[in-house]
């Protein structure tokens, strides 16, 4: 085998090995990145669930505050009284036409 042929074989072999090494590095980097993203995803899901939970609790608090019995007792506490009578108006034709 001539020197040139041996050198080419060496360079080719080295190139193949280097490429395989780089590919392996890239694969590891990619796999590590996915795994890390998985942990980020887990944290984000947990955060989302907690925010949803907090939102539901706040909505519940709103519903509690809107309960008629609570509003009525609060109105009484403020000294408000019920209207003694309700005035019903009969709308005339000119009004109903609008």
């Amino acid at each position: 085998m001539s020197f040139d042929a041996s050198a080419r074989l060496f360079v080719l072999s080295a190139g193949v090995l280097a490429t395989a090494f780089l590919m392996a590095l890239l694969y590891l980097r990619f796999a590590t990145s996915i795994a890390a993203s998985g942990y980020d995803l887990h944290d984000l899901e947990a955060r989302r669930d907690e925010l949803v939970r907090q939102n539901e609790l706040l909505q519940l608090q709103i519903d509690r505050l809107e309960a008629p019995s609570r509003i009525e007792s609060e109105a009484q506490r403020l000294g408000l009284v019920k209207a003694s009578r309700t005035l019903f108006l009969t709308a005339g034709p000119s009004v109903t036409l609008r």
Binding site: I34, A35, R53, E56, L60, D63, A67, P68, F88
Partner: protein
């Protein structure tokens, strides 16, 4: 060299030994790696793969206007892993005031030998935040679903409640448990030792199907007003209990269903079990004089009497050899049919029943829905008792005419009055208006007419007579300034276990429809064992007037009478 130092036979034996050993090892390796590969793989996966149940979210319950009545939220439960807690005494002392427990009891749970133990389940958010801030190793928080009722005590008996496992125990929660509960799912996932899901691992999900939402016919504003008035009169009368039912007579839709004693569905652990019984649906009583309207309606419908028919009231009636007296033995002289209702004359009701006859009265009691469950969509409905006419003694015709010797539920009586109010058709009462499934489908409950009981003409005559009862008769305390009211009072005795009546204890009631000319609502008030005894109907009417004004204003019903 070798031949000089080692005999060739020994080398051969050594070589053969290594050869056999390598064959054995190879066979063993093949056994585990090929034949038992599946077992090893499953054991390895079992350490990282976890299957967990995805809980279905229980459906919410709303009133007819979309106000939330029941929902499920995630609250934090405090748990401990005692082996990881560095100092049991210090941790117990720090947690005790937050969890409302003693340090000794908390420490005894740490020292119980359990690997994992709940300290307190579903604590308020403020408490869980403080526990988290303590950052005690071995103390953690785990979210758990908790059924919450934002209107607190409102409609508690109609809604019911769920147990710790989320299963409905009474009311709508029980009768619609299957629809509300949904279907749990499953998540199979690979996790690392820190219990985090691996992004590149196995992940198979069978999603949970959340429970359906319910929209009730109840109106929270009407319900709250009914409960307010009921609580007021029960308190002032020191009564054992009571109920108020509000029905839409044209559909049978239940607008309010108040029951006392009540309970807080958010804290059923501390409730009296008797309070779980819905007085409107699961409780029966002898209705007393409110039944006179039913007897007279039946007789008018059969033309056994006419509105102009009169009789001479002597204060008592003789039937089957027994004397049945008017209340307090009063005699009213000549009365027409409307007068019987206005005076609430027992003897008059007996006179009408005798004209009608036992067979027909029994049939009308059945047609009005007494003696059988209405089929309302609430758990644990009672049916009441109306004995078959074949078992009646002659006197039973007379007692049944004014509501004794038979039992009804308040809901049955309200439904019967609704039939008079709407022109003669008995409707099946219902509480759930819509079921919203998660797939977007909506099942609506259509009003269900059960049967026509009265002609529209008879129903109108009875309404007119009941209006006279309020305008000129025994129920004048139920008059409203701007609206006509048709109604009838009832004071019933209470049967004891031995069949006799309890001395000096009564159930007072007022059954009504308003506005009388074109009824929008049927309202029934029942007070159990009021302190004022025979005058308990005054309190029942007081609850009615307190409620009716709000009801008309809220429903924007135009006054039908000039002030």
């Amino acid at each position: 060299m070798f031949p000089d130092t080692l005999p060739s036979t020994r080398i051969k034996f050594l070589f053969a030994g290594f050869f056999v050993l390598s064959i054995v090892l190879s066979a063993r390796l093949a056994y585990w790696q090929v034949l038992r590969r599946g077992d090893l793989l499953s054991q390895a996966r079992a350490q990282v793969v976890q299957a967990e149940t995805l809980a279905a979210r229980r459906g919410a319950i709303y009133d007819q206007n979309g106000r939330l009545l029941a929902t499920t939220v995630q609250l934090q439960s405090v748990y401990a892993i005692p082996q990881q807690i560095p100092d049991h005494a210090t941790a117990a002392a720090a947690l005790a005031p937050l969890l409302g427990d003693t340090a000794e009891r908390i420490r005894s749970r740490f020292d119980s030998g359990a690997e994992w133990v709940f300290l307190k389940r579903r604590v308020p958010e403020a408490v869980s935040a403080k526990v988290k801030a303590l950052a005690i190793p071995g103390i953690g928080l785990e979210p758990e679903p908790k059924r919450m009722y934002p209107a607190d005590l409102a409609a508690a008996s109609a809604l019911g409640f769920v147990n710790d496992d989320g299963v409905g125990q009474s009311g709508v929660e029980a009768s619609y448990d299957e629809a509300l509960r949904g279907i749990p799912g499953e998540l199979v996932v690979e996790r690392d030792p820190a219990q985090r899901a691996l992004a590149v691992g196995l992940r198979q999900t069978t999603p949970a199907v959340d429970g359906a939402d319910l929209v009730l016919t109840l109106d929270l504003a009407m319900q709250s007003a009914a409960e307010r008035e009921l609580a007021r009169v029960v308190k002032s009368e020191k009564a054992a209990g009571g109920t108020i039912v509000i029905l839409d007579p044209d559909t049978g839709a239940i607008r309010a269903l108040a029951s006392m004693p009540g309970f807080d569905p958010n804290d059923v652990a501390h409730a009296d079990p008797e309070s779980f019984r819905d007085r409107a649906v699961s409780w029966t009583y002898e209705p007393g004089s409110t039944m006179k309207a039913i007897t007279i309606a039946a007789a008018l419908n059969e033309h056994a009497v006419e509105p102009s028919t009169t009789y001479d009231d002597k204060g008592y009636a003789v039937i089957g050899g027994r004397i049945l007296n008017n209340a307090q033995g009063r005699s009213y002289g000549r009365l027409d049919i409307s007068g019987i209702l206005e005076k609430s004359a027992n003897a008059g009701a007996v006179f009408v029943a005798q004209r009608l006859g036992a067979e027909k009265l029994s049939r009308y009691l059945h047609d009005f829905g007494f003696g059988q469950a209405t089929g309302v969509d609430i758990a644990a409905e009672a049916g009441g008792t109306v004995r078959p006419v074949a078992e009646w003694y002659p006197v039973d015709l007379g007692t049944a005419a004014f509501g004794q010797g038979l039992t009804v539920t308040p809901l049955q009586l309200a439904a019967a009055y609704a039939a008079i109010a709407n022109g003669g058709t008995l409707y099946k009462p219902y509480l759930v208006q819509e079921v919203h499934a998660r797939d977007g489908s909506v099942r609506r409950t259509e009003p269900q007419p059960v049967r026509r009981v009265l002609t529209p003409e008879t129903a109108a005559i009875v309404r007119e007579m009941l209006t006279s009862v309020v305008d000129r008769g025994i129920a004048q305390n139920a008059r409203l300034n701007s609206y006509s009211v048709a109604g009838k009072t009832g004071t019933a005795q209470i049967a004891s276990a031995d069949g006799s009546y309890v001395s000096n204890e009564y159930i007072s009631s007022f059954a009504s429809m308003l506005p009388a000319r074109d009824p929008r609502f049927v309202v029934l008030v029942v007070i159990e064992r009021p302190q004022s005894r025979l005058l308990g109907t005054l309190s029942a009417m007081s609850a009615f007037t307190g409620l009716a004004g709000d009801l008309m204003r809220y429903a924007r019903v135009e006054p039908d009478r000039v002030r």
